[in-house]
């Protein structure tokens, strides 16, 4: 045997052995029977579900959820939407607008044939309008905080309210990861919430809202005419885990504590309604304090 042969065999052995390791970064199999596993298109025994790996959340800033209660027959709503969008644009990744087509009477939301045939209302939006007593449009809530004893505020107050909220200390951090399977229109959502302060006595929930980034649909604009191709921005479309979300830190919470939650959701067929194309969808995730409804932190995750 030549020295070359010996060397080749030696290296072949080495290569063989070094390759024989399975490194598992995230080994915990989560038994969440609330998940809809029919949305996972693969055989888990052959191709296990790719549970996410979490890295440290280094965010230190408190964000703002600006809910713009609007309606497609509300003449003043487009101008309020511009105010909301401007605040969002001026605070990238800090302020997230969610357009909620709702009011206590649904006076501006009901379809009106033939020009306004669509119904943008959602069950969650209707409940929010009732609880926050949004009896007119346009109105907005800023992190669902009270101003003058009311949750709602005129759009002229949104900028200053937003500034106040942005300067508050951060009590919770949120991270979200997801997997989307076009074969089933299945969306698997994984959230990590980290408490940054002690709040043992308070109760919180995490709420995931599906929003469509842009919905081109008729809207009455100032002057009373219908604009057929009005761009509705960040429209609340459905609540993935219910109107009031999923309780977190139920046993009390202390700084540094983390909680993980998983959700599945079957997205509407994007062929039947192109506004549900995955690249037009986002999830707004926020932590809500149970007794006051205050939004403690919010993030927006684009699915595109």
């Amino acid at each position: 045997m030549t020295l070359l042969n010996k060397t080749i065999i030696g290296f072949a052995f080495l290569t063989l052995f070094v390759s024989a390791c399975d490194r598992i970064e995230n080994p915990v199999i989560i038994h969440d029977t609330s998940l809809d596993w029919t949305l996972y298109p693969n055989d888990t025994t052959v191709s296990p579900y790719p549970w996410p790996t979490w890295t440290a959340n280094t965010n230190t800033l408190r964000n703002v959820l600006l809910e713009d209660y609007t309606g497609h027959t509300c003449i003043n709503c487009p101008s309020a939407a511009v105010v909301a969008k401007t605040i969002e644009d001026n605070n990238p990744n800090r302020v997230f607008v969610m357009s909620v087509h709702a009011s206590t009477t649904s006076g501006y939301q009901v379809p009106e044939l033939p020009h306004l045939p669509l119904d943008h209302r959602t069950e969650a939006g209707n409940e929010y309008a009732q609880v926050f007593n949004v009896f007119f449009n346009p109105a907005g809530t800023v992190n669902r905080t009270l101003t003058g004893g009311n949750y709602y505020a005129l759009n002229s107050a949104w900028t200053s309210m937003t500034a106040t909220e942005l300067s508050k200390p951060l009590d919770f951090n949120i991270q979200l990861q997801y997997n989307y399977y076009p074969q089933t229109n299945g969306l698997f959502i994984h959230t990590e919430v980290e408490a940054l302060s002690d709040a043992a006595a308070d109760q919180y929930t995490i709420i995931n809202c599906l929003v469509r980034d842009t919905v081109i649909a008729p809207q009455i604009i100032p002057g009373g005419t219908v604009e057929e191709e009005y761009h509705h921005h960040s429209m609340l479309t459905n609540n993935i885990n219910g109107t009031w979300g999923t309780p977190i830190f139920e046993g009390g919470v202390s700084s540094g504590q983390k909680e993980y939650n998983n959700f599945t959701y079957k997205l509407p067929d994007p062929i039947a309604d192109t506004t549900f194309r995955i690249d037009n969808l986002s999830i707004i995730t926020f932590i809500s304090k149970n007794d006051t409804y205050e939004v403690m932190q919010v993030i927006k995750t684009s699915l595109n």
């Binding site: 010996k6 030696g10 052995f13 063989l16 052995f17 070094v18 024989a20 915990v28 038994h31």
Partner: protein, 563 residues
């Protein structure tokens, strides 16, 4: 590379080796040799409720084995017949019946040695791979497969192996399902670079190992299990004159085991890590050795399901402590390395005051000092139970203040005259019973032991050995006294009587005498021994690997022979 590809590759590679080796064979010594050895130990059990003695239904146990080896030229083969009818009480479960427990065939030439069937092997200190057996302990993790030793170039030594480990003996060998694959290389630089280093006082050898296992025994629904787990590391062996150094580092990738008693160690995915260092100096009449070990999460078996402590072990944890031989010191509170990890140190000094010197007198003095200690690693726990499950972090040789074990012992040996030889020993133990769970009563046991051992060689044929020992402790079972007298009539006969008395037990009924009489006959390579009496419960250890021995009362017969 998946397993099927791996196996195919190994078989192909071995085929290349084998074909090369057999083409190169040449005639050497053509004589045939047969050798072997036999051992049988049988014990008849009497009921003895006072000491809670083992009292099995079958009344008698017997462990025996016979090795038979054949060698002709470069070829050798052998087998071991084993019999456990029924196994001795306290012997690990998994040994029963009679049959062949070991068989092998081996062939070698100048460059290559091939073994098929069962074999034992060790890489480095054994932390990454130690395939061994101890019939006294009831440990046998022999591999069943193929092993290659290959010397491709002067000073370069390679070993490769693949096989399944012995798991049980039930009328024959039963292997575990896990596969062990290993590769080890050593380069002796003095041999390799002989023109430069041949006459150098500085000797150095570098080594490296890679061992991996494959098993899918554990199908837990809670965790994704790694089916292929690798461990690897390197070592350096150096010597300069009378100073020698050994250093080895091993790391093991994620290798989770169930450990429900401790949530932070249960299905732990942290990499394991071990460092072993030895620095020694020896000259005539004086030697000093210092050892240090850092070991964390290095349990290393070929299965990832729960197993008995000595089952299917691939790796070995070297015990940095003196293996005592006197009964009270060796079997009541013996040290066994902590499987989860430990930081351990040992200093061992031997000095002989020269004979015919002012202090040494006519025969000199033998002095020995040994200090050994082990602590839990300093672990910083992290909250990742539901994600990566690394659970904690450690730093090399960063110890906590949690003491597992400390042993300080000092011995003096003195030949008084041509007929009398005396050995005195003092030992001080601190032993954390939560860690070793030997005594199962207390958390921290502190014990002092003194030993006096006098041998009186009456004349050429007759000798008498006296031994007294005393253990004092305020914990566990309290004080013990031990006395033994042994008479030997050379070269064939010996008789001995010993008594161990637990006179310090706080429960008066437990202040028991364990009286044991022994008689033996030796002729050539044959040795017959008979024992009758009480034997107390204890722990029997070899190299830090231990097994519990239950109390017993009865007659024991043993026979050993070799040919």
């Amino acid at each position: 590379m998946n397993l099927n590809n791996s196996t195919t590759f190994i078989i192909t590679s071995l085929g290349i080796f084998l074909s090369q080796a057999f083409f190169a064979q040449h005639k050497e010594d053509s004589r045939s040799y047969i050798s072997g050895n036999v051992q049988a130990i049988a014990q008849y059990y009497n009921a003895d409720s006072l000491i809670n003695a083992a009292d099995p239904d079958h009344k008698m146990g017997m462990n025996s084995f016979a090795n038979i080896n054949f060698r002709k030229g470069n070829f050798s083969a052998g087998t071991r017949f084993e019999s456990y009818l029924n196994p001795l009480e306290g012997y690990p479960v998994g040994f029963k019946g009679s049959g062949i427990g070991y068989r092998y065939a081996s062939w070698k030439n100048d460059d290559v040695e091939i073994t098929v069937g069962n074999f034992y092997e060790q890489f480095g200190s054994g932390m990454i791979l130690r395939i061994w057996e101890s019939r006294q302990l009831g440990i046998d993790n022999a591999l069943d497969g193929i092993k290659l030793k290959y010397n491709p170039y002067k000073g370069v030594y390679l070993k490769g192996l693949i096989g399944k480990q012995r798991f049980r003996f039930d009328d024959g060998l039963k292997n575990g399902d896990g596969l062990v694959r290993g590769l080890d290389g050593e380069v002796n630089l003095n041999e390799l670079l002989d023109s430069t280093f041949d006459n150098s006082k500085f000797k150095i050898t570098l080594g490296g190992s890679f061992v991996s296992k494959y098993n899918n025994d554990n199908a837990t629904p809670d965790f994704i299990m790694p089916h292929n787990v690798g461990a690897y590391g390197g070592r350096i062996i150096a010597r300069y004159g009378k100073v020698r150094f050994y250093g080895e580092y091993i790391t093991k990738e994620n290798d989770p085991y169930p450990d429900p008693s401790a949530p932070k160690f249960n299905y732990l995915y942290k990499n394991g890590e071990a460092v072993l260092l030895n620095l020694g100096y020896s000259t005539k009449g004086f030697s000093v050795d210092f050892n240090a070990k850092h070991q964390d999460n290095m349990l290393w078996r070929s299965t990832n399901v729960s197993a008995l402590p000595t089952d299917l072990l691939i790796g070995y944890s070297p015990a940095l402590s003196k293996q005592h031989t006197y009964a009270l010191a060796s079997t009541l509170y013996p040290y066994s390395p902590n499987a989860r990890g430990e930081i351990a140190y040992q200093l061992d000094v031997l000095y002989k005051i020269p004979k015919k010197s002012k202090l040494g007198g006519k025969y000199g003095w033998d002095l020995g000092l040994n200090i050994a200690t082990a602590y839990a690693p300093q672990r910083t726990f992290i909250n990742d139970d539901s994600t990566s499950r690394k659970m904690y972090s450690t730093s090399i040789f960063s110890a906590s203040d949690s003491l597992f074990f400390r042993d300080i012992n000092f011995s003096i040996g003195k030949k008084i005259n041509k007929k009398l030889k005396l050995k005195l020993q003092y030992l001080n133990f601190i032993f954390d019973d939560r860690v070793q769970l030997v005594a199962k009563h207390h958390e921290l046991i502190m014990a002092d032991i003194v030993v006096a051992d006098l041998t009186w060689k009456v004349n050429k044929k007759n000798s008498i050995k006296y031994q007294v020992q005393h253990l004092s402790t305020l914990q566990d079972q309290g004080n013990w006294a031990f006395g033994q007298i042994e008479y030997a009539y050379s070269p064939h006969w010996f008789v001995a009587v010993l008594d161990q008395w637990n006179y310090g037990n706080t429960i008066k009924e437990q202040q028991i005498h364990y009286l044991l009489a022994t008689a033996g006959y030796i002729k050539g390579s044959n040795r017959f021994t008979l024992q009758y009496g009480r034997q107390r419960a204890g722990v029997f250890c070899v190299g830090g690997v231990c097994r519990q021995v239950p109390a017993s009362n009865g007659l024991t017969f043993s026979f050993t022979s070799s040919f």
